[in-house]
Symmetry: C2
Subunit: 437 residues, 2 copies
């Protein structure tokens, strides 16, 4: 029997509906693949995105396809598995259904794993004019926009206008912010001078603005200090303790009235959970969903949330766990086990315990910072090797590993970035829109 | 001294303006890199496209970035070289200038190397609803469209509608048509059944329609026969001696009234020269520019045309040379020599002589056909190895070679296609448009 447009058969196995094919959702489904449930996955993309390397796509170091893996392929081993490319708009806990862009579906268990989105903290001008960095189309947009600015800069004889086209402002001193700043510093140092001999790149500025007093706030003081040093090596100008108030597409205005001239603002200053309507308001706090130690959403028996969107508040983590991939993956694994316990065995559930394996961030070639548990902290070349190894090891799919390795070897030895392509469905010139062909 | 918005300095070296960074234009500039001329290149993309592998991008076998090379990077060794990303709209031979989307520029020598575009032979319904395959954005569009059709097919309970979503019609039995048909045959056989276990793929049809009585009309009878056999192995249905009359996006109508139901029509039935306004009408024939044995446009001393857009009519080639990459490359090389002779030495020019090194086409894994000069003709696995070697060897850039090799090895041993991603700037669902984030 098929239900409405979603066309998913009703069987006598309990149905687990998963919203989101990110780190958490994908891991959950993989871990459930041979259990006695029907799995239904919703995602608005047909691929999983390896977000930690998105910044390399935006800065022409990697092709988008290298950090994406088709969801159907990853999960094709699951026998009773259905993927639907759609967005989920509403949850109806009272009747155990969800509304999606393709119709309604009922669930026995619902797992919300749809991650986080860019947080503009209500600032409309920034939301309208800045570039976020959470999804592949955004990274491609940013790449094309920056390269087009340089194509425009060679045409510009007005000095001020030319500088605005060359300058880049990054807001947010977390891992994304510093990694993109480091990659842009490398571009400025090694690639742009060869591509644009016509331009004076000495007066190109890359600014990194952070609202607090240090970079990498979630890592050690040692890591913050090292990161600042490395960024200075790549001539990134750090602006600490400053908030951005306004951005009109050309001029960044800080809270203290200072202005910076730039036609690109990369917004990496914060994320918030992707909240879907329909849960009781008590279950939502600071745009995250409150869950218990079993990732069960507060007040429900059959709705779970994992990863960035879930806040498992405890004494040790008063604001919930950090919004990073390892938490999502571990929660996905454990929830799979717990679901099997519930469905197949009726056993006691296991509570989640997060073992922090450490944090890493890289800043340009040969440089990274590492915080390992037990106070092991270091930076430099060896940290960078670890960073590369961990990322290459973590990315889904052997093809992706091969392609990324090929690119990294190439980029390393040639100081080049092979993928600086302006690919847009319609090629936009300054003054007119030219159609394909 | 700078001229208008194009911002190109006037020097005392003669200025050679090249329109188009394809095989011909790129080769010309490379061959001129240390000569005493100023080089200005116009292209509407900032990258060179390796068109022979476009069909692999469209069929999820390769990432787009693997077959594109940034033009600034390829040509960065030329000291007096300017690239401008713009379209050229008009040539004014009477005043030695061109009009571009960025302004006017004068030239001492003009080289038209802007290739060919899809020829719809005036059929509006086909132009509006079919997918051409000449540029990277088109290949990405086609890839996304075909994958989205399959995502829709799993939702469809109406049998006829579902078949229209699964079926694919290719028009044109030249190299592009048969290569894309072979690649789609492979997808149908090896990839789609794993991705879409819900769908019955036995009643998915891939049609290849050719207006003449045989495939690969420019190659030997032997190659045509082999190609037909190979396509049948991949269950591609051949329709010969038939013209397509109409296509409304769902139903293909042939001249004899037959209809085929398909939501994808790939149009590879013909190309024509990209003609820019302004040349004397006598210089244009059948949408190509008539040139003499030195690639000089008929009736002009300082305007040249090379590659697909040029027709060098002779007894041996009454319609001009075939519109293929090797002709463009050889003409680019020779014209570079001749320009140096003109500018630097005032010597006699050398006429173009085309040495045909043979033709190749591949049809799915392990199968290709080869025509070598001297009547050496064969097909099969060895021909396929030659095809791969020639393409890998020809593609620009070592990074691209590495990435393509990695993909091919992966695709070969896993029967997989790693890049089946639906990446669009805006994700379109059937019934609504959802914005990014």
């Amino acid at each position: 029997m098929y239900q409405n447009r979603l066309n998913i058969p009703s069987t006598n196995q309990p149905r687990v509906v998963v919203i989101g094919g990110g780190f958490g959702g994908m891991q959950l489904i993989k871990s459930l693949y041979n259990s006695k449930v029907q799995l239904v996955l919703f995602d608005k993309h047909n691929y999983h995105t390896f977000q930690p390397l998105l910044y390399q796509v935006a800065t022409a170091g990697l092709e988008p396809d290298a950090i994406a893996a088709p969801l159907r392929r990853i999960l094709e081993e699951c026998p009773d598995f259905y993927f639907r490319m759609a967005e989920v708009n509403h949850i109806h806990p009272e009747k155990n259904t969800i509304s999606t862009t393709l119709g309604e579906l009922d669930y026995d268990y619902l797992v919300i794993a749809n991650g986080s989105k860019t947080n503009y903290f209500g600032n409309k001008s920034i939301q309208a004019n800045s570039f976020p960095l959470k999804q592949i189309p955004q990274a491609l947009d940013l790449r094309s926009h920056m390269l087009q600015n340089f194509e425009k800069a060679v045409l510009e004889s007005d000095q001020e206008e030319q500088e605005a086209l060359k300058n880049i402002v990054i807001v947010g001193g977390g891992p994304t912010g510093i990694e993109v700043a480091g990659a842009l510093g490398e571009l400025k140092k090694h690639v742009l001078p060869r591509d644009y001999p016509e331009l004076d790149l000495k007066n190109m500025r890359i600014y990194l603005i952070e609202a607090t007093s240090r970079l990498l706030g979630t890592m050690s003081e040692h890591a913050s200090k090292k990161a600042s040093q490395y960024l200075q090596h790549f001539e990134v100008q750090l602006i600490l303790n400053k908030l951005v108030k306004h951005y009109d597409g050309k001029k960044v205005t800080l809270e203290d009235g200072t202005t910076l001239s730039s036609k690109v603002l990369i917004w990496a200053a914060g994320v918030k959970g992707n909240i879907i309507d329909g849960l009781r308001p008590e279950a939502i706090q600071n745009s995250r969903i409150l869950v218990d130690a079993y990732n069960r959403v507060q007040g429900y028996e059959d709705i779970f949330a994992i990863g960035d969107v879930a806040a498992m508040v405890s004494e040790q983590h008063p604001k919930g766990h950090p919004m990073v991939a390892p938490v999502a993956i571990e929660q996905g694994k454990l929830l799979a086990k717990n679901l099997i316990r519930m469905v197949e065995e009726g056993k006691q559930l296991q509570p989640f315990k997060y073992i922090d394996k450490g944090s890493l961030a890289t800043i340009g070639r040969n440089r990274a910072v590492v915080d390992f548990p037990g106070g092991i902290r270091f930076g430099g070349f060896f940290a960078w090797l670890i960073w590369m190894f961990v990322h290459l090891f973590s990315i889904t799919g052997f093809r992706n590993k091969l392609v990324i390795l090929a690119n990294w070897i190439w980029n390393y030895f040639t100081y080049d970035r092979g993928t600086r392509l302006i690919i847009r469905p319609y090629i936009k010139f300054d003054h007119e829109e030219v159609e394909r062909e």
